[in-house]
Symmetry: C3
Subunit: 354 residues, 3 copies
Amino acid sequence: MQSLIDLDDLSIGLLDNIITLSKEIAANPSDFYDALKGKVLATLFYEPSTRTQMSFQTAMLRLGGRIIGFDNPSNSSVSKGESLKDTIRVVSGYSDIIALRHPLEGSALAASMCSKAPVINAGDGGHLHPTQTLTDLVTLTHEKKRLDGMSIGLCGDLKNGRTVHSLIKTMSRFRGNSFVLVSTKKLGIPQYLKDILNASGCGYEEVHSLDEAISECDVLYMTRIQKERFDSENDYKKQKGVFILDKAKLAKAKKDLCVLHPLPRVDEITTEVDDDPRAKYFIQSEYGMYARMALMIKMLENSKKEVPKFPKQTHDVVCDNPRCITNCESYLPKMYTEGGDMLECIYCAQRLLI
Amino acid sequence: MQSLIDLDDLSIGLLDNIITLSKEIAANPSDFYDALKGKVLATLFYEPSTRTQMSFQTAMLRLGGRIIGFDNPSNSSVSKGESLKDTIRVVSGYSDIIALRHPLEGSALAASMCSKAPVINAGDGGHLHPTQTLTDLVTLTHEKKRLDGMSIGLCGDLKNGRTVHSLIKTMSRFRGNSFVLVSTKKLGIPQYLKDILNASGCGYEEVHSLDEAISECDVLYMTRIQKERFDSENDYKKQKGVFILDKAKLAKAKKDLCVLHPLPRVDEITTEVDDDPRAKYFIQSEYGMYARMALMIKMLENSKKEVPKFPKQTHDVVCDNPRCITNCESYLPKMYTEGGDMLECIYCAQRLLI
Amino acid sequence: MQSLIDLDDLSIGLLDNIITLSKEIAANPSDFYDALKGKVLATLFYEPSTRTQMSFQTAMLRLGGRIIGFDNPSNSSVSKGESLKDTIRVVSGYSDIIALRHPLEGSALAASMCSKAPVINAGDGGHLHPTQTLTDLVTLTHEKKRLDGMSIGLCGDLKNGRTVHSLIKTMSRFRGNSFVLVSTKKLGIPQYLKDILNASGCGYEEVHSLDEAISECDVLYMTRIQKERFDSENDYKKQKGVFILDKAKLAKAKKDLCVLHPLPRVDEITTEVDDDPRAKYFIQSEYGMYARMALMIKMLENSKKEVPKFPKQTHDVVCDNPRCITNCESYLPKMYTEGGDMLECIYCAQRLLI
């Protein structure tokens, strides 16, 4: 594991190792005070995400390592007119591991191609955010003692939610999970996820009311629907309550339901729910810290610092996703996988007709 | 001592312990290099205060601890649309102690009600700033070898100065102190402080010229009067010199006068005074670092990480102070103490007629 | 060595010590994990320079020290209305060493006059940037195994480039170096540098095409010519290619050429050059980290914390350089060296007719 770009790249065995290690750290944190002594994490945040950055920073500091980085691209000379490649080449000379947050899709993969140090994708636009999903897995392992055989409810904007997509993909790799998808008609999961679910054999149902769905769930993953995603102001006013978790709806849920939320929340969970023992969204962020600690220990175990060989272009084709990193950083080799009459961009997963 | 919101909450005995420890640290700093090894301080600054933040950060780093936090609320995703409660719940999961600076009054108390980790009030609007006063106490203990039996001059805007109010309140708890209050007529200390002074038996006099007052002082605490506090531009021009400390005025002072200033200064002390051995305002900031080191050691001695039980509302009354945190964070229970026909808000000390 | 303001202040012997130490650190970094344990570096950046700041921070962290500071003057209360002197006095009480970046010329010297801790000039306006030149020396020592007897090409804007001027001055102190100066007619090196070169006995030639010059160079130091430095848009379009290093030009160079660049680059070196083994500009930034590590160890070896005595004014003359720190911080004593009928400002090196 040189870099972590996509959680799908990790085998179930490796995921299991990381989760097990995160439990050991949570149980005996002081045993790990010097685990990464002398190591330096660079948190390069090309868009602000204070919470994610703090989680990475705390994780490294609690292992005895040090942190450098920036969080404020508009003030940062690094990001002014300099290519991602040059910044990564220089910073990977200073540091032992990099956590990159960037608004463009495929940026973490691009960075890993130029970096002497392993890169962790801390969010690349709307594309991937693997440590959030790792956080969810560690939370479920702690709180439900298993990752399989569960009825998993997901509520909110399931069409655009990066964390939701990633969680569905990952949980479909474990046996016996089924999904209850609670959303408006327009904001259901995209077709490619349905294809994955069908191929995996996991059952799923799409419903339009949290109230109906909550009683059968072992896990409920709440996310927000932004006002502007509704058809009209009127629609928003009528419908929004349907997707809000409050005490009344929670009363119908199982005794051992586990309520998760990637945070920050706005009003999709009322604060009265916070004191219910089934509310696990705050402790979830602590598990995220342990998950990142375990991940960095594993990544640095056999890490060698060397500039990787730049890969070769596969097709002389421009990706038509304007948010793909290749359209901004022109030195990057265009690379696609072929499937039928389609090309899939290796950076951003955009599909193009040949 | 779970959290430190108001210096008045500390007994004289506990204050004494902290001051004594700060002297031990100042004398042998290397004995404390690992005193808080493995601990993490979060400095959450919802308004910038670089100096205070640096003082806290240096204090923790010099004890072997680590720091996370933010100083730049406009760039911070944490502060965007997220409640103080949620931020504090998450960050107190990452950290062992929190220093909070926030523009709203009562915010530190509110934070301490949601936090798994002890909270230090690093300034909550115009309300309290206990570590500044602790700094002043440590400075006086070092420089005057006592906290009692002194004539304490305070010069500048005594009406609006948070640090001045807090210092007067605290010094009135020690025997035999008297106060020389140097200000314009309009900018004298408020009535509630006079009540405290009268009750404590400390003498005080109100004067309007530093030149007249300086000779009797053992301590002179300088603060600024902002131009806009004067009645008119004309008044300002005529009077401002009266409240500026320069070499001429200092010539009339005692040989062992101790001149303090919370910094930053603008022009209320001329730079020629800096080289006088009685100028203690720069070394005062160093004592502030030692004070914060001692405070954090004491606070973390018996600290357990657990979410406190939320207190119950005492009165169904809205605080009419627009800068009170309860008017911004609606989940907070309204709480008041009763006295005669008045309610006093527990968060911001606003008094309401019942 | 209390502070480092100008690399010229260091003897060749001391430079040699720092370079030798930097090689030991690069060879065995883990031997130095605790070399500055308990020490605090303050990085005070009054203008953003993320790369330089990161280099200093990483250097201190890799030696077991800690860092405080700011990088964002517009948000920083320290820089609002407070004099440089007051900020430095306070921060030098918190820290053991200060790296100062400031837009005004002479600011680092001014800071060193007020500081209890040694100050490193991390760039004072267009004036000096000694650790960049130290980086270049460490790079050449590693990559060319010598600092003398080389043909050194410098390409780009040689008139305004601070790093170029400093490198020429320093390399002219070593025997047998000669210089190939590649630029437009208007952007050649200033007369005072020619005077230095002539006095040192180093040969130099001025040429206008990199293509002609490259074959004789042992070292090629690339910098950018900004578009607005050309006479006209037309001129820019015709000429810019002449000063860009690409594969075709590199083909004419020596096998052991060492290509340097202070970074960030824009387009003055094409990315195809990056994979050539002669491209040393990325590794150069790593040498910069080792150089700063060695420098800080040396500076802290015999450092005592005390406020230096303020020097006396030498001439009652105002410096006519509007970017000189003395015109902004009025408490600074005016100081000049006399030479013929000229005064030279000790802060910014501006020359005034008496």
